[in-house]
Structures are given as C-alpha cells and as structure tokens.
C-alpha cells in the first residue's frame, strides 16, 4: 500500500471509522513508514487544536431560555407576520419565481392586445419573430406573435431551472434571501470550478468525493505526499559523507 493511499485513511482511523481489513492494512503500513507516522502525529495535533478552538467558540453559547424561544414561536403564529400556519403553504422560491414570470407574461399579453386594438403600424417586411435566445437558467416571458385570428397566442413561459441546480454564487456575492424563514430552506449548490477545487476554495463535486482514487490525485494532496515521501527517502538514505570517507 502506498503512502498516497494510506494518508487518505489516517483521519478516518483517528475518528474510529476504519475497521477490518482496511484498519489492518493501515496499521501494517504505519509500522513500517516513518513519514506516515509523522503525518499521523501532525493530524492528531491539528485535531487537538481544532477541538480546543471549537470549544472556545462554543463556550459562550446556550444563553437562550426556552421561555424566550416559546415567546418567539407564539408571536410568529399569533400575528401571522412570519407565516400563515393554516391554509395553503407559502410557495417556495422556485414557485414564486414562476408565479412572478407568469404574471409578467400576463402583462405582456395585455400589452399586445392593447397594441392590436390601437393598430400600431408595422414596418413592411418585418415579421414578429420569437424572442431572442435565452440562457437555460433564465426565465423569459415571450410576447405572443401578432394575432392573425380572433384568439391571441398564449404567452410562452420558460420555467427557471430549479434553484438547487448548478447556480453559481460569485465570490463576495450576497444572496438576496428572504429574511423570514422559508419552509423550503435549501442552500444553492455551487458549480464546480476546477481551479477553485484545487485551491480548496470550494468543495469538490460530489462525483469526485465518491472516488478517492481521483480525489487523492488533486494537487493539494499530491504536494503534501511528495514532500513527505521525499523526507522519508532522505531519512532512509545512507550518509554520503560517511561513504566518501571510506573511499580509497
């Protein structure tokens, strides 16, 4: 087993998540690899520091009484500001967006009808065409074509992609979330960006997390592995000065 393979399991070992053959393989490797034993020691010290820091952060919390919480819960239900407990649920973010654009489509239809009634002249040779191509993530309400009969065409509304799908939040961008709590509290998933993943600025995509053989090839790990392997090789190499002293 190579160091590259073993290093990925060292944290799981400390978390008690390794068992059976995997645990035995790591134990055997550690018995014979000074570099990985140093890695284990460094990871252990890092985790101790993390535990102390998190304990310090959490030391000042937990001052809310149940009565305070209950008062907020009852206020939210009695004055109806936060939500309507009875009746239809408030639509989620995607549904609200669809409603908004459906409303915009209705306005466009009304505007077109008004133009038709007023009889706005058209330039000869210019036919009403489809709306410009839009990005898949955008929602458009297309104005109906010039009606040739008594019934106007219904507006075409392209629904927005669900908020969970690959919607990128740019660095520094603050999302315009509703201040009140939504029933469908769902975070937006970030689009994968290889450079940012390599720099560990964002999480790797899920498919990569499920493939440790690929995951461990990302430079952040490879550099550490190479450094430790080099240290191990140097530590095990014979002393060149001792060899030179014995040369004839």
């Amino acid at each position: 087993m190579s160091c590259e393979t073993m290093i990925g399991s060292i944290v799981a070992l400390l978390d008690g998540e390794l068992a059976g053959a995997e645990r035995e393989a790591l134990d055997r490797h550690l018995a014979g690899c000074a570099a990985c034993r140093r890695e284990l020691a460094d990871v252990r010290r890092t985790r101790d520091l993390v535990d102390r820091s998190l304990a310090a952060l959490g030391a000042g919390v937990g001052r809310t009484s149940f009565e305070q919480l209950w008062a907020r819960a009852r206020d939210g239900e009695t004055d109806g500001r936060a939500r309507a407990p009875a009746g239809p649920r408030r639509p989620g973010r995607v549904a609200r967006r669809r409603i908004l654009w459906a409303g915009a489509g209705g306005l466009a239809l009304a505007a077109s009808l008004a133009l038709m009634l007023v009889g706005v002249p058209r330039e000869p040779g210019i036919e009403p065409g489809p709306a410009p191509a839009t990005k898949a993530s955008e929602v458009v309400a297309r104005a109906p074509a010039a009606p040739s009969g008594p019934k106007p065409a219904a507006p075409v509304v392209v629904a927005a992609k669900p908020a969970l799908a690959t919607e990128r939040v740019a660095p520094g961008e603050v999302r315009d979330d509703d201040a009140d709590l939504d029933d469908d509290v769902e975070p937006v998933e970030l689009a994968a960006d290889e450079a940012a993943v390599v720099a560990n600025e964002i999480d790797p995509p899920r498919e990569l997390l499920e493939r440790p053989d690929l995951f461990l090839n990302y430079p952040i790990v490879r550099k550490l592995d190479e450094l430790q392997h080099l240290e191990s090789v140097l530590a095990d190499s014979p002393d060149p000065a001792a060899d030179a002293g014995g040369a004839g």
Binding site: V174, D183, R206, E210, V221
Partner: protein, 183 residues
C-alpha cells in the same frame, strides 16, 4: 417530536433542552463566533416548530435537526458574505506558512498566545469550503458518525471521509509553522 407535532409544549421544551446546546455549538463553529450562534440556534428551533406538522420519522430526529441547522448556517454566511469579513491571508501558495508570534509562549501555553492560536484555527475553519466545514464541525463538536453526517449532507460515508480528510489537510497546512515548532 411526534408529541410536538400534536402540540405538546413540554415535549418541545424537552427537545430544546436536550439539543439546543449542541446546535448552538455547531452554529458557533460554523459561523466562527458565539455572537450569532444563539440567534441561529433559536432560528433552527423555530423552524423545527413551524415545520412540526410535516415532520415524518424517517430518520433520527438529530439528523433532521442538523440538516435544518446546516442550511440556516449556510444562508447566514452567504447572506453576510462571511468569508470576506475574515481577515484572510494571501492565498498565494508561496506565501510563508503562519508562524506564531512567540513560539516559546505557545510552548508555555501563555493565555494570550493560546487565544492567538485558537483564533488562527477559527480563521482557518471559517475559510474552509462549506461542506468540509460542516463535516468537520459535526465530527469534532458533536462527534457524529460519518454515516449520519452523510445523511445530513446528502452524500455517502466515503464522501464524508474525503471531506474531513481534505479539511484536515487544509488546516494542517495552515498550521504548518506551529506543527514544525512542536516537533
């Protein structure tokens, strides 16, 4: 929780008293401070209360609870652009690793040096990508198993293992100076 669903106030109190501290500590670890943690914890339990009629016992209550806490904390940091407020060091790979201001004081564990080190670690945790931060904090603060963390993050145990590994490697790299001094 099923009793809360039926409107049992005392059952809700029991849940609050059992889990509020853990949720608040998770929030503090995730957003990097205690100031907002209590409010976030309240928001989590308010959400639990408001969603009580839709609760179904498909998994452990704590899994559902931490899923809500995770999402609310994510919204919190994204709303306030949390990362931009942390005094980030350069992301340049060639930048020197952090060195403690007084290594001997750290070895002797003087109070202010200890606070400096804890602050540095908190800063590094705040810089972690979100899923890694969640997995790490749940693992260290609440000592949740990888399987449960995976249920909260909607990923496999293998993915959780990878997330925690990557988070640990990032933190280790950020504390390189301190770790080397201690060898």
């Amino acid at each position: 929780m099923l009793r809360v669903k039926e409107g049992d106030r005392e059952a809700f109190r029991a849940l609050f008293e059992k889990h509020s501290g853990s949720v608040a500590r998770f929030a503090a670890g995730f957003v990097g401070g205690a100031a907002r943690a209590d409010e976030l914890m309240q928001d989590v339990f308010l959400q639990v209360y408001r969603a009580r009629e839709r609760y179904e016992p498909k998994a452990k209550f704590s899994t559902w609870l931490y899923t809500i806490a995770h999402n609310l904390c994510l919204n919190e940091v994204r709303r306030h652009d949390h990362r931009s407020r942390v005094d980030l060091a350069s992301e340049d790979e060639d930048a020197p690793a952090w060195e403690p201001s007084d290594p001997q004081a750290l070895e002797g564990e003087g109070y202010s040096a200890q606070r400096e080190l804890e602050g540095r670690v908190a800063e590094l945790i705040a810089r972690l990508p979100e899923a890694q931060r969640t997995a790490l904090v749940l693992s260290r603060v609440e000592e949740l198993r990888y399987q449960q963390i995976g249920e909260i993050l909607s990923c496999s145990e293998q993915a959780v293992k990878s997330l925690i590994f990557r988070a640990t490697q990032s933190l280790k790299a950020g504390l390189k100076g301190y770790l080397e001094d201690g060898r």
